[in-house]
Point group: C2
Chain length 195, copies 2
């Protein structure tokens, strides 16, 4: 019972912290802020978490894991590079929109992680980007994509998607699939009418 309540409370703390970190930023959010939104004293937070940074770590590495898992499923499939890219983007958008507040924190507050966590984080991110780069390189080899700077293109592609949490509203008219459809359509086919 006690354990279960503690878990729920911890979850509640992380959820509320996620919202506040997104709105105000990690550094500008105080533990007293957080506590008052939850309805307890600041000191009481420390019965459930070890430190402010632990909350940020939980958010960042949970998101990182979600992104990785979803991409690894795509990698195993046997399909052409353009299909793979499309599927990878859809998965990415689905993870992103499932918790857009956590995603926003993940993308803009990671630099406040302390050194060893920061190192892990950056290496995971690099790894993830490389998987996308590989898909583009494969697509070039298969003759389906044209010659390009694969790393540059992937960073541009991911940036255009990752910025979404800042303006994506779940009440909006676009589903994650439709968003991914729009993004990949522009990136893969371009804006120009085919002649």
């Amino acid at each position: 019972m006690i354990t279960k309540n503690k878990l729920n409370r911890k979850q509640q703390i992380i959820e509320k912290a996620t919202q506040l970190f997104q709105k105000q930023g990690y550094a500008a959010t105080s533990m007293r802020d957080l506590a008052s939104y939850i309805g307890i004293e600041a000191a009481s937070l420390y019965s459930h978490i070890k430190s402010k940074e632990e909350i940020l770590q939980t958010i960042c590495f949970q998101m990182a894991n979600d992104f990785f898992e979803s991409l690894e499923k795509i990698e195993l499939e046997k399909s052409s590079a353009d299909e793979k890219l499309k599927k990878a983007v859809i998965s990415h958008v689905i993870v992103l929109t499932k918790d857009s507040a956590a995603s926003a924190v993940f993308f803009s507050e990671w630099r406040h992680l302390s050194e060893s966590y920061l190192k892990d984080f950056l290496s995971m991110r690099n790894n993830y980007e490389n998987k996308f780069i590989q898909i583009l390189i494969d697509g070039y080899k298969e003759g389906v994509f044209k010659k390009m700077d694969a790393k540059f293109t992937v960073l541009a592609l991911l940036s255009s998607i990752n910025w979404m949490p800042s303006w994506y509203k779940p009440e909006g008219k676009l589903s994650p699939e439709e968003i991914a459809e729009n993004v990949t359509d522009v990136f893969i086919n371009g804006l120009k009418i085919r002649s």
Copy 2:
């Protein structure tokens, strides 16, 4: 003499603050941090600036003005929508890369502006985005761009470019023009080989 030295010192303060705001974020950068990098006491900063926020305001509105001015020049030109889009992106990238630290602060720290400044900032940003949206709509009417969600596409396009300050290194091999070339090429023509 005194006036001139003061102006130089003020510039120096803003430049160093820009670097620190980019690296650590606005909220996590203290005036004591800033002062010690410059080699004076924290209290002495206030001979040159009114407040910490004034520095952020200067950075944000200077960048906003630069972006606006460069886009307004393009708007006056008589050219097709796809050429206009390309030129607009090039101008945008040039402004962005001319001071990538200030750009990074501009894009990620604006939310720390106090209310009235925040309001002005958001309205300027909206205005800027609408100019891009208009170019896409014109392109559709001219028959050069296909049907699409213009707002969505512009936000994706600008996001992919705006993220650049976080990984663009001036020592890198790509010039602003080449970067703009790459971005517009993918966006306008897509990744796929034309059949």
